[in-house]
Symmetry: C2
Subunit: 193 residues, 2 copies
């Protein structure tokens, strides 16, 4: 017999759609993802996805804000949890752990690549600067170090998007190993979910 559709409170439904949308947008990009794919991933109807957020664009913006929020949260707790290691090392690990949160990093990559879009651009800029300020002001990194840190983060996003960690190619694995600071096995495990 069939499972009846779950009736959820609005807040939970929103969150479940956002989670599904993050994965789908992360895989296909903003324009490439369809509200129908997101609906299927969330286990509801296409119309309901659109109705809940008003439009695909609004949904994407919410996904972007949520993704930035996750990064902020991860970084803040890495800053607080002082275990003796230098703060940039703690931040780097926190960022890598986010790979497990499927789609967050990939969705961000797509958001950042759409700076030209009148609706999405401002959200991307604000999000990126928010993260920059966090690592500079709250973690206390010098501008140069903060910039390097973001650069390494963008490389991680890229090798993750390209799925180089699943390649057989030895050069790909060498590069991923460098990008993740040495622990390829862990990177793979996180990416596999």
């Amino acid at each position: 017999m069939e499972t009846t559709r779950q009736r959820l409170p609005a807040a939970e439904r929103r969150e479940s759609i956002l989670a599904a949308a993050t994965v789908v947008f992360g895989e296909r990009g903003y324009a490439g993802a369809t509200t129908d794919q997101i609906a299927t991933a969330a286990g509801i109807s296409q119309a309901y996805v659109v109705r809940t957020f008003g439009s695909k664009e609004t949904l994407f913006v919410e996904v972007a804000r949520r993704a930035v929020g996750r990064i902020e949260a991860a970084f803040r707790s890495a800053i607080e949890a002082d275990d003796g290691r230098p703060v940039d090392q703690r931040l780097g690990q926190a960022y890598l752990e986010l790979i497990a949160d499927r789609g967050i990093l990939l969705a961000l990559l797509h958001i950042f690549s759409l700076g030209n879009d009148p609706a999405i651009g401002p959200v991307g800029r604000e999000g990126f600067l928010t993260i920059y300020r966090l690592v500079r002001d709250e973690a206390g990194l010098a501008p140069e170090d903060a910039s390097h840190f973001l650069a390494e983060g963008m490389l991680i996003n890229t090798v993750l998007a390209l799925q180089l960690h699943d390649c057989d190619d030895p050069d790909a694995l060498e590069l991923v190993t460098q990008a993740c600071g040495g622990d390829l096995v862990r990177f793979r495990a996180l990416a596999a979910g």
Copy 2:
């Protein structure tokens, strides 16, 4: 009176479409760009764009290969032109100069973000690894340095895509200054075309 449409040899027409497509794909991404926008940018009809490359997907793949080719060419000439400065500095400058070649870097960013796509993914991986091998084997950078170099490159792509160089925000400008190695004015001039 109207200018008559230029009749061009096949090779030149292909190149002019590729150039236009690079800009449009760079601004909107693969799925977000339409063959009609590309046609307008190239000054020809939509049908002719599709007919020349067979499909939008094929066109995008050609754009990707051309973009990677441009980077290879720029890096090879930077490696050859030994002016006494360390090679990674020459490479960095060569990469920055590519900003002037409108769309190349932005198109690449979009290509690299679509690793999941069955047709585009392999092209993106191949392109990225080609560049990695070039800076490692031909420029002679150690894997760690090659990785850092690519990371800085991805940061440049990102701030360019986000158009942080056109922001008023002082933090944005600080970050772009770091990303481009100090010369914000030059970065802006290159980006302005």
